[in-house]
Amino acid sequence: MMTRKTGAQILWDALEHQGVETVFGYPGGAILPVYDALLDSTIHHVLVRHEQGAAHMADGFGRASGRAGVAIATSGPGATNLVTGIATAMLDSSPCVFITGQVPSHVIGTDAFQETDITGVTLPITKHNFLVTKTEDIAQTIKKAFHIAEGGRPGPVLVDITKDAQQGECDYEWDDSPVELPSRTPRPTVSPEELDHAAEILNTAKRPLILAGRGVTLSGATGLLADFVEKTQIPVAMTLLGIGGFPASHPLNLGMMGMHGEAWVNQAIQNADVLLALGMRFDDRVVGDPKKFAPAARKIHLEIDPSEVNKIVQVEVALIGDLAGSLRALAPKVSCQDLAPWHGFIRDLKGDSAVRDIQQLPDSGHLYAAHVISDLWNLTEGNALVVTDVGQHQMWAAQYYKHDAPRKLITSGGLGTMGFALPAAIGAKVARPDEEVWVIVGDGGFQMTAAELSTCAQEGLKLNVAIINNGYLGMVRQWQEFFYDKRYAATPMRNPDFVKLAQAHGLLGLRVDKRAGIEEVVATARAAEGTTVIDFRVEKEDTVYPMVPPGNTIEAMIRRPESALEKKDDKALVKKD
């Protein structure tokens, strides 16, 4: 039934119809009509402490659930504070809808108070954006925004609504008809010839390898991939964002590839004769020097986005379309072959790598980040939803926290946004309240968005925050160690007392500096009702191995010296208070 509503009321009604239950936001002048109408909506609003936090929360919600997360901000500075979060969501194909207030339409273009051309600013970092100046257009635009954000290759969509459009009234009734976008993207269809071509390449392969990216999870193809691997016995390497798309515990899962990938994985890639790339985009952190990437391999790319095909690495055949559909069509054409010699070859590579694994080294009584994460994995039985920040701890989390299920590792891959972890974890927890959520974050990145602890407290959310505190901007320090002659410019950090910081928020804070203490603090944190912050005082100058120096072939890895721990023992360890 038609009723008379304001634009602000229509907005909430439209969001409700999209199934939105929670939004993340921060009010201000140009969005005030929307906030006023919020009180009459069923939707819960999480008040953040900085709009960047709201953006990462929406992103974390999107990654954890597969449905678009929603963030709201006012015009001008509110909107520009979202920008880092929008760019983060864009590069990792995360479905989000951002709603910003805009100055009244009659003053647009006059440099009015808090006027920023946010659709202009976010043009290159959104999948699409809209400026809405008419009350009547709000509902349809919201519908389109969700459709675009969640459809195909997901991504962020921004809807900028002028204040007069929020305040205006019109006759309104929710329109349930499907979204019709006039834009007509040619429907990518996989031809039988392309399928046969791909199958022919796979069926003659002696050393094939699957490169699994985030597309596996996004297209819901994890089960299909498992079946495909079962049938073909082709080993799987994962990108950072591909983690969870194929169970870590599967014997044919080799682990992560790329700059900090497992050495044997990169070696396997370079020795492969066929690469089957699934929903991944050959990021430079994955391929190193593209000219030297798997030169002997015939390459097949299954990808929904045609603009990713032949962008970095030239492939012989591309199956463009939804990954699940392509894989389903391809599977019956691929026949099993004896890959035992290839499996044996990889096993030998792995043997060589494993002796360098930090976990094989004796426990020297000091705290190593890798030990923290590996123990955390054991203690949580690999079931936690892990949200990481960016830096060394992120790479250790990828290496040592092994996931068997999709959407259990949330991390900023493409943009590498420090400050992502805590707010993204809030979004993930809101999306999946039954999950045990662990934030793994560096002391540097934690301080970028630490104010969101306050949001956790206000919302009564239960997160476990593991600060991997090395007193350095660790990853940058590592680059300085390797490539800048150990000249540690602007990387040592003097930190606040994180335990007291937690306490100041009314939260539990814990500290540990010995491996023997990990079990107890993890148990205490898990048992605690509210968000708990653990300050893990780890070895200050530890290094993530292996490492492919940027721009190199992925075989050129800096490896952990055989006796690394013994050497590091001499160094001053964590300073005690």
């Binding site: 999948k127 699409h128 459809g151 834009s183 007509r184 993207t185 990518p188 045609p306 095909v309 032949n310």
Partner: protein, 175 residues
């Protein structure tokens, strides 16, 4: 340089909305594609604009440009007319110094190129010429010694000669 590197002409149909040109231009800038020429105008269909973009690209980049253009929600159709028989035209207005004593000479040159005189003043006249880019370039060269006082060109517009076979389109934006 890639052997397939050459000038490509894309005819892009877009929704006639504020900011659409911005989106297209932003795409080229962001992906570091270099636009040689760009022309925008209406089409026979209300609400649909026509953008002709000329750029240098090899086959691989040309496919990426097309794929990226299709990712823009406002883009309705993209055609790389470099691969099909097509007509390409440029329009130029050229103001040439032409005092009383040289006017006849200048006009004769124009006639050879089938340029039209669209304005005459005591010291100058304005030619209008349409044609291929090459033809216009040659006229400009021939007029240069007389003194060119102003030059405005539209950039190339292009159209495929034949109706391209109707492709299968979906209303669902896939990307």
């Amino acid at each position: 340089m890639e052997p397939s590197m050459r000038a490509r002409t894309f005819v892009v149909l877009v929704e006639d909305r504020p900011g659409v040109l911005d989106r297209v231009a932003s795409l080229f800038r962001r992906r570091a594609y270099n636009i040689e020429s760009l022309a925008v105008g209406h089409t026979e269909r209300p609400g649909v604009s026509h953008i002709t973009i000329v750029m240098n690209a090899d086959d691989r980049v040309a496919r990426l440009v097309e794929a990226n253009l299709y990712k823009l929600v406002d883009v309705l159709n993209v055609e790389d007319v470099s691969n099909v028989p097509s007509v390409t035209r440029d329009l130029a207005l050229i103001k040439v110094r032409a005092g009383h004593e040289r006017r006849a000479e200048v006009m004769q040159v124009g006639e050879v190129f089938r340029a039209r005189v669209v304005d005459v003043s005591p010291d100058a006249l304005i030619f209008e010429i349409t044609g291929t880019e090459d033809k216009i370039n040659r006229l400009v060269e021939v007029l240069r010694p007389f003194g060119i006082l102003g030059l405005a060109r539209t950039g190339r517009v292009a159209m495929a000669r034949e109706q391209t076979p109707a492709e299968e389109f979906a209303h669902e934006g896939v990307v």
